[in-house]
């Protein structure tokens, strides 16, 4: 095709596109392009939904998920609930290239990353601390718990399961500022 090569990515993350495109133009592989493109977003904390210092969980911690796939071989490397490592897409690439597994998660994924030479560091920033503080001040809203007490729509935890379950419609908390 006359239009190839091609880089396309979700959301208006221009620098990530440019980084991936630069790799292809310099003769790099499509895997290198995807890795560098996503890594650029991780460094720049694209719209707060990528990389360190964004989307703190109920404990205020930022955790990262990433995945990379080779369309020639359908080899895949992925990490989920990765803690203390900024370069999540790099760790995903390492899972693909240095293990026969597909997905590593949590503390074990972080330990794997450290063993592969990735630097462990705090993913918290002043911004993520502020987001977390505001959430606590706002009675922990929005909240993803259901069928627990105290009522998660008005109260913070800790939560216990409620004896009677109700089938409520999902609240749809995801939006342009908080998404996968």
């Amino acid at each position: 095709s006359l239009t190839l090569p091609l880089v396309i990515n979700t959301w208006p993350f221009k620098n990530a596109t440019a980084a991936a495109w630069s790799v292809l133009q310099s003769g790099g592989s499509v895997l290198d392009a995807v890795e560098k493109g996503c890594a650029r977003c991780e460094m720049e904390q694209c719209d707060g939904s990528v990389g360190y210092g964004g989307s703190p969980d109920e404990f205020g911690e930022t955790t990262l998920d990433a995945m990379i796939i080779n369309g020639d071989t359908v080899e895949v490397g992925a990490v989920a609930d990765l803690r203390r490592i900024k370069n999540a897409i790099g760790v995903a690439r390492a899972v693909m290239e240095h293990t026969e597994h597909t997905l590593l998660v949590g503390e074990s994924a972080s330990l794997f990353a450290e063993n592969m030479g990735f630097v462990a560091e705090d993913l918290t920033t002043n911004k993520s601390v502020n987001i977390f503080s505001q959430w606590l001040k706002g009675n922990c809203q929005p909240n993803y718990r259901k069928n627990v007490f105290p009522d998660p729509s008005t109260s913070c935890g800790p939560y216990k399961p409620k004896g009677t379950f109700t089938q409520n419609k999902s609240a749809n908390h995801a939006n342009v500022h908080s998404h996968d």
Partner: protein
């Protein structure tokens, strides 16, 4: 979240995702981004796709895998993306989500589901026609 697809001049495809997920999630929660076929999928004999949005919903439908398989069956990228979104919409009419699709000839498309404060989805494209990142959009 970023989801990305790259194709070289010979049609080799790769895809990837990176995210910090939903804000205020229950600790341990993982969305669709690191799940193969959900957050992204690629097959150099068909194309690639990457999804974004509410991963708790989207991961239940493997939209990226579906879109790639539809392109393999001959659907153009925009139609493949729309169908992948429609499948989710059947069960979750107001879910928040979008998907990008590209086939091995360099054609691409996107689709999204209209939700509160989300009526248009923006994405970026670089190819040999543009040689610089171009902002594209699709109405949900």
């Amino acid at each position: 979240t970023i989801g990305m697809i790259a194709l070289d001049k010979d049609g080799h495809v790769a895809a990837g995702t990176s995210t910090n997920g939903l804000t205020h999630k229950v600790p341990g929660r993982v969305g669709d981004s690191p799940i193969i076929g959900a957050g992204a999928y690629a097959d150099s004999s068909a194309g690639g796709a990457a999804a974004t949005g509410d991963g708790d919903v989207m991961m239940r439908f493997l939209p990226s895998y579906l879109a790639v398989e539809l392109m393999r069956a001959g659907a153009d990228p925009s139609a493949a993306c729309k169908t992948a979104i429609s499948r989710i919409k059947r069960h979750y009419s107001d879910f928040f989500g979008a998907i990008i699709c590209a086939n091995t000839t360099g054609h691409y498309g996107a689709a999204c589901n209209k939700a509160p404060d989300f009526s248009q989805f923006h994405y970026m494209v670089s190819n040999s026609e543009s040689d610089t990142p171009l902002l594209k959009s699709v109405d949900c």
